[in-house]
């Protein structure tokens, strides 16, 4: 079926302005407005949103995939020589040029600033545009990533230190999964950390003791799934999962769909489009997405679409 036909065949999608969304993403692809400069360090993440958005909208043919591949690969961190390997640095991808410096002879302050989240985005982009990930020099990447794992199983995002929480456990798991190689992390330890993040109400917080949150819950459940600790379609098979409390998680997640049809990230907080992904994703992984009230959610999402004058 032609793309246009696909989008017009479902009457509920008729108010989804696909062309305008593509146009918007292409505009961002060409140039991000100045207010985004505060996000400079995460430029690769912004690129990921644009590219995966175009992919979902089946409009990836509108961008130059070779250019994307070359740009992303240019952000990969490489050691200057063997001596820098001993300092425990992480050799992943930079999120932007602002953490990537050309080598010079001064030495002392030149730290490789590649970051776990940027590495996840880099690989996700490459995979999306069809690059063969086996071409990536992944041995050093994975080996140095393991050094970012903490004794409690969590991950630091950069070797110079940083907040450790479930987001980076997810990045690590996704990286290993995409590269098809689990040498980059100790899965058992990561699993222990995730289990400790499940709150008394069934959702997961970013760190043990934190309030359960949609984004953190996605990171937890997606990581467990990628690492092989959750069976496919848990609910329909009535399989039991003993490491986390699945019934409580399920109840918490579904309760996050509010009366306006959208999803909340936390109890008693306003709904937001992003949680349709985070919490929706959790439910999908559990095989419980059929319990989402789809028409209510679609109704909510269409209120979030910018008004366009016709």
């Amino acid at each position: 079926m032609e793309d246009q036909e696909y989008w017009e065949s479902d009457p509920e999608l008729l108010d989804f302005d696909r062309d305008r969304h593509i146009y918007y993403l292409l505009m961002m692809y060409q140039l991000l407005p100045s207010p985004y400069q505060g996000q400079e360090i995460n430029r690769l993440t912004l690129a990921y949103f644009v590219i995966s958005g175009l992919d979902i909208l089946r409009a990836l043919d509108r961008i130059d995939k070779e250019a994307v591949i070359n740009w992303v690969l240019s952000l990969q961190a490489h050691p200057r020589n063997d001596s820098t390997l001993e300092k425990g640095q992480f050799y992943g991808f930079h999120g932007s040029r602002s953490s990537q410096f050309q080598s010079n002879n001064n030495g002392a302050a030149i730290l490789n600033g590649s970051h776990l989240a940027s590495t996840y985005c880099a690989l996700a982009i490459l995979k999306t545009v069809g690059y063969d990930l086996s071409l990536i020099d992944s041995e050093l990447l994975l080996k140095s990533m393991k050094d970012l794992q903490q004794p409690d199983g969590c991950f630091m995002p950069i070797h110079t230190g940083g907040e450790t929480d479930l987001r980076f456990v997810f990045c690590a798991a996704a990286i290993c999964s995409m590269l098809g190689n689990w040498n980059g992390m100790d899965r058992e330890k990561a699993k222990e950390y995730i289990v400790n993040c499940q709150s008394y109400d069934g959702g997961f917080g970013l760190i043990p003791g934190s309030e359960s949150h949609g984004g953190a819950t996605y990171c937890a459940v997606a990581s467990l799934k990628l690492m092989g600790f959750i069976e496919e379609d848990l609910l329909s098979k009535k399989a039991s999962c003993h490491i986390i409390n699945v019934p409580l998680l399920l109840d918490w997640s579904l309760q996050k769909q509010a009366q306006d049809g959208g999803f909340q990230g936390r109890a008693n907080k306003p709904t937001d489009t992003c949680y349709a992904f985070w919490v929706g994703g959790v439910l999908r992984i559990l095989g419980a997405d059929t319990f989402i009230n789809e028409s209510a959610l679609r109704g909510f999402l269409s209120t979030c679409q910018s008004e366009t004058s016709n």
């Binding site: 995460n42 740009w71 602002s98 953490s99 010079n104 309030e211």
Partner: protein
């Protein structure tokens, strides 16, 4: 960080500042075909070009310190700048109390830099515990659910202490807003982890009473229901056997107010072999809209009623029917 247009106009470009005359700024090299380029303002480009210069020269001077401050105002998430600033602070032996003040200021506007906070806090030691608790309290007075501030507050308590008034603080927040789920979570944190309180089992009785009071005030509030359930974590039989739990469900149902959470709790009790009183059964049936479901099995009937009173989750309640353990 938001800066007024006037401030930007008042800014003297670095190329015109005599104290920077000796530095050649280093432009960003983005490669031949950059993707998602950002339309940097002149101020941003120039500041970062000068930052690159001092960074590559590894200049750990007072002017470099000031430059990192300007760069941070423009891009507070840039961990390379923060990292270099740390090196300069160490090299210059700067008073870290001042640094804490700076970090607090940045964090007020941008919530993502608690790691930097920790570095400073760890260096200053336990003396700053109360200051940091006070600072997060100020943040909560504007935004009582700020997630990163709550993580930070929990870290401060565990690393630096200051538990004495934390339960009372939770009381305060919940009095302001009984729906504040962050405050409920913090309460659970204190009750289970405070070295001054004796742990969950010791606290359970009074906390059950607290939760029940909150439920009766606003039965549509998800938080105290979850909290109540959480007080019996890993000991669901005690939940089922605590008569106060079935009792609060009954009270809410009799009052005929929003009862979805009450019905869900009843269903949970039944799933763990609770034997419902006739009073409870009658109260459940009474809240059902017409046409009243006719399932002979009480637990199944509860599911049917939930489908009617909580239609957005109708398919879930229908599924719950299929997973009820066999009743006597």
């Amino acid at each position: 960080m938001n800066r007024g247009v006037e401030e930007e106009r008042a800014r003297i470009p670095m190329s015109q500042r005599p104290e920077w005359a000796d530095i050649r700024p280093v432009p960003q090299y983005d490669g031949p075909n950059p993707v998602v380029p950002i339309a940097y303002t002149d101020e941003f480009s120039e500041t970062m070009d000068y930052f690159r210069a001092v960074y590559l020269a590894d200049e750990r001077s007072p002017r470099a310190l000031q430059l990192t401050k300007e760069a941070i105002f423009l891009n507070s998430g840039n961990y390379t700048v923060w990292q270099f600033r740390r090196l300069i602070l160490d090299a210059l032996n700067v008073d870290l109390h001042e640094e804490l003040h700076f970090v607090d200021q940045i964090t007020k506007d941008n919530s993502k830099n608690y790691q930097i906070w920790r570095w400073v806090a760890e260096k200053l030691g336990t003396q700053i515990a109360s200051k940091e608790l006070e600072f997060t309290r100020e943040i909560f007075s504007q935004d009582a659910k700020n997630y990163h501030a709550w993580s930070h507050r929990q870290w401060v308590l565990q690393a630096l202490g200051g538990w004495e008034n934390e339960l009372a603080y939770c009381d305060e927040l919940l009095e302001d807003d009984i729906f504040n789920n962050s405050a409920w979570n913090q309460r659970y944190f204190v009750v289970t982890r405070s070295p001054l309180l004796g742990g969950l089992e010791v606290m359970r009785d009074s906390e059950v009473a607290f939760a029940i009071k909150a439920i009766l005030a606003k039965p549509e509030n998800e938080s105290p229901w979850r909290y109540l359930h959480g007080l019996y974590k890993n000991d669901v039989n005690s939940l089922v056997n605590d008569p106060r739990v079935a009792s609060v469900c009954l009270d809410v149902l009799l009052d005929k107010r929003d009862c979805v959470h009450a019905l869900n709790m009843v269903l949970d009790l039944l799933s763990h072999h609770h034997q419902p009183s006739n009073e409870l059964k009658d109260a459940v049936d009474a809240v059902s809209p017409d046409p009243k479901p006719s399932d002979s099995n009480f637990a199944e009937r509860v599911c049917s009623i939930l489908q009617l009173v909580d239609p957005i989750r109708a398919s879930y309640w229908r599924w719950r029917k299929t997973s009820i353990p066999a009743q006597d």
